[in-house]
């Protein structure tokens, strides 16, 4: 039995040491990475956020739809695949205090009214868990931390090691000319796939009971408060959708944000009267052409309203 205990201690000690060596090595390597979605884009944002004037946040729809270069020369699109309210709100809270900045937050009603929303998307920031107190506390707040993370810090880099190495050796793009906006050039295959999905009739059931999730509401309120206290102009918007359904949700979101005194613009039906397959990659993502038309419209609106 003594030998078994010794073996367990040996495994714990060895794995703890190896873990720390791996963790600090990956820290060093990842700091040099400025391309790629999971690490590079986040690094670039953290390096540049204090000097930016306009920043867009939100899901992949924000990432692919908002051409921030049309809004300001010093701008960045921090929209990210798979991210949602928790991820975006945490990043907003990292902005510098008292610097005048415009925060454009892309929001979709589906997440706001999802009663099961648990802030899981904040895991996208886990690579900075042991390096940024705000990120750590936001992750802990929604209990999205892994208990093993207290012992094994390399968990911060779970699933990211190959991406870091790849982007270190061969960056996807030159970060100096990258502003976070990723337009989608639709290939012929993607076009065919989209056409075939349109032929399928999805039976979508809209929920009858539309109530904002507690967590979603908290995130929106906390961002509003942060912006008010730190000289930021907050604008929330929903970008176009090929065929907006469950319109009640959009209406309810509009009412909710109005009540909170937040500027909100619903563009979900932007292309409805003048639609074309060329504007889309799929039902929720615009093509470069569609995104360009939408971004132009945003620019006009923001100029008219004196936001930019």
């Amino acid at each position: 039995m003594k030998k078994a205990l010794k073996l367990v201690v040996l495994i714990l000690v060895l794995s703890f040491i190896v873990d720390k060596v791996v963790y600090y090595s990956l820290n060093k390597l990842s700091d040099k990475v400025l391309s790629g979605q999971a690490i590079g884009k986040l690094n670039q944002y953290l390096f540049q956020k204090d000097d930016l004037n306009v920043i867009a946040y939100g899901t992949s729809r924000a990432n692919h739809h908002i051409d921030v270069s049309l809004l300001d020369t010093s701008s960045f699109n921090m929209g990210m695949d798979g991210s949602s309210l928790a991820y975006s709100s945490t990043l907003i809270k990292l902005l510098p205090k008292n610097k005048k900045q415009t925060v454009i937050w892309h929001i979709d009603p589906k997440k706001v009214f999802d009663s099961n929303y648990d802030g899981e998307d904040i895991k996208g920031l886990v690579s900075k868990y042991h390096r940024n107190d705000i990120i750590q506390s936001e992750i802990n707040k929604v209990k999205q931390n892994n208990p093993l993370q207290l012992f094994y810090w390399s968990i911060d880099y779970n699933g990211k090691a190959f991406g870091i190495l790849k982007n270190l050796i061969r960056p996807n793009y030159d970060f100096k000319t990258y502003n976070g906006y990723d337009p989608i050039n639709v290939s012929q295959t993607q076009k065919e796939i989209f056409e075939s999905t349109l032929e399928k009739k999805d039976a979508v059931e809209c929920p009858e009971d539309i109530n904002a999730s507690f967590l979603a509401k908290e995130y929106i309120k906390s961002v509003k408060l942060f912006c008010e206290q730190n000289n930021k102009t907050l604008v929330m918007l929903t970008s176009p959708t090929y065929n907006p359904i469950c319109k009640e949700q959009y209406l309810k979101l509009e009412q909710m944000l109005k009540k909170l005194n937040i500027n909100y613009y619903n563009y979900s039906e932007f292309f409805i009267s003048n639609n074309s397959l060329n504007y889309w990659k799929d039902k929720t993502h615009l093509s470069t052409k569609g995104a360009s038309l939408f971004s132009e419209a945003l620019k006009t609106l923001f100029t008219e309203k004196g936001i930019i």
Binding site: M1, K3, A4, K6, L7, L10, I11, L14, S15, V18, D19, V22, A38, P147, L148, Y152, S154, I155, Y157, N158, G159, K160, A161, F162, G163, K166, T189, I193, S196, T197
Partner: protein, 469 residues
């Protein structure tokens, strides 16, 4: 409770410490195992514990009555009670909706409309496994191959022993019950075996299988939009996903049992190195295939009643084996493919007087298995045939990549897993004994490396595939 959960990471060491602290008091150790097994199961849904207790009670009594009975009629009656009780539960919980649905479908093709007969039934986790396990007990006693136990704690512990309760291996009473009933002593070699096998099992499941699952799930969710190369790649990935998922589960089960002084039989023995389907079934889910062979195939007459009856028995065994996996025609077809392949091999082997196809056999076996996995994985028969049709349209253009990082991680980990398999296969040491043969430091270093690799590359845990059966 899932093996790949934080709860199990606390549960197993806790049981381990208390168990060995009881200092060899067999009665107390068995009570601890029984209670902890019930806690393990109740973590999922405590209400279904009643089914395990019911099954255990019926077979405990039936086993004794069969043994005590003076005439064959009474013995048969008690065996029938055991069979009807256990298979009845399985029929209600697992197959009722399937048969009700199939009946309604058959009626509607004849022009008669039948009201919806399906019920909202939850499938209790592990029911197929523990049903087969307890049945082996009464069947063995009926065949006079095994003596009934008079210790109910031992018997109930045997049925519910947590490492194998929800997804096997299906341990026969003849192997496990004597171990439950006899004093166990701590073995350092078994401890080392167990620690190594658990860490390998976790790696196989949450690193290899779960990373491959991301690609497979995304392709199989919308197969109609993918080309031949994508569907073929997803099916190949699925073949390895299910292998590493289930063998990983078995590794953790066997390793956990070893820590507590129990030796389970091997459940997987590098099945994709098989040179024929016959050999594949000697290496894949061994505890199920040997159960089906001993209690179904041989009971039907095996190969003792002529060549035609042998083929019939093979087909029936494989069809029922398919149905055991799930209440869907796809599983029946999966079983049928294997049944046809086994029957064909039997015919060719006896005609050509050979017992393997050599190296080409490995490729042929993998292709047949691959084809059958399409039915196993696809949502329904229509989807499966559409996938096969698309693969055979040879539209082999660039495959869908999805998230490149996930795909690369899945591929790299798969290669690592396969290299490890080749290494152990060539060494001719069963995986179950690798840890015990390592030196103290080599084992410590190996397990530490596996832990770090797991931490760096694990994917968010999906349920073990075999839980649904």
């Amino acid at each position: 409770m899932l093996f790949n959960s934080i709860e199990y990471l606390i549960f197993l060491p806790l049981v381990f410490i208390i168990y060995w602290a009881l200092n060899g008091d067999l009665k107390k150790q068995n009570i601890l195992l029984l209670l902890s097994s019930y806690v393990f199961y109740a973590w999922w849904d405590w209400r279904f514990l009643s089914l395990i207790v019911y099954s255990s009670l019926i077979d405990y009594i039936a086993g004794q009555r069969i043994e005590q009975a003076k005439n064959q009629k009474v013995r048969k009656r008690w065996l029938l009670l055991s069979l009807i009780s256990n298979l009845g539960l399985l029929a209600i919980f697992k197959y009722y909706n399937f048969f009700a649905d199939s009946f309604a479908g058959a009626m509607s093709t004849l022009g008669w409309q039948v009201d919806d007969l399906t019920l909202n039934i939850i499938l209790p986790v592990g029911i197929s496994f523990y049903t087969f396990q307890t049945l082996s007990y009464t069947l063995d006693i009926y065949r006079k191959d095994f003596k009934a136990t008079k210790d109910w704690v031992s018997f109930f512990t045997y049925v519910s022993f947590f490492p194998q309760l929800v997804a096997g291996p299906i341990e026969r009473a003849s192997n496990l019950l004597p171990q439950v009933e006899s004093k166990r002593s701590f073995s350092q070699k078994w401890f080392n075996d167990g620690v190594f096998q658990i860490s390998i099992g976790l790696f196989r499941k949450i690193v290899i299988a779960d990373n491959l699952a991301i690609y497979v799930d995304s392709v199989y969710a919308n197969p109609e939009i993918h080309n031949s190369s994508t569907l073929l790649l997803a099916t190949v990935f699925y073949a390895f996903q299910i292998y590493f998922d289930f063998s990983g589960y078995s590794d953790i089960a066997i390793g956990s049992a070893k820590l507590l002084g129990f030796k389970f039989n091997q459940n997987f023995n590098f099945p994709y190195f098989s040179k024929s389907i016959t050999e594949f079934w000697r290496r894949w889910h061994i505890s199920l295939s040997s159960w089906l062979k001993d209690y179904l195939y041989i009971s039907l007459g095996g190969n003792r009643k002529g060549i035609k009856i042998t083929y019939r028995n093979l087909m029936l065994t494989m069809l029922l084996g398919g149905l055991w996996h799930g209440s869907s025609w796809n599983f029946v077809i999966w079983g049928a493919i294997h049944g046809i392949a086994l029957s064909s091999e039997k015919y060719i082997f006896s005609w050509k007087k050979i017992n393997s196809f050599g190296f080409l056999g490995t490729i042929y076996t993998f292709l047949i298995v691959l084809l059958s996995w399409v039915f196993f994985r696809a949502q329904d028969f229509g989807t499966a045939t559409a996938i096969i049709k698309e693969i055979f349209s040879f539209n082999f253009i660039a495959p869908y990549v999805g998230n490149l990082n996930t795909l690369v991680t899945g591929l790299m980990m798969l290669i690592l897993g396969l290299l490890f398999d080749v290494y152990v296969f060539r060494k001719k040491t069963p995986l179950e004994e690798v840890g015990g043969n390592m030196s103290f430091y080599k084992l410590g270093v190996s397990v530490s490396i596996i832990i770090i690799l797991t931490i760096l590359f694990y994917s968010t845990s999906n349920n073990f595939i075999y839980f649904q059966f």
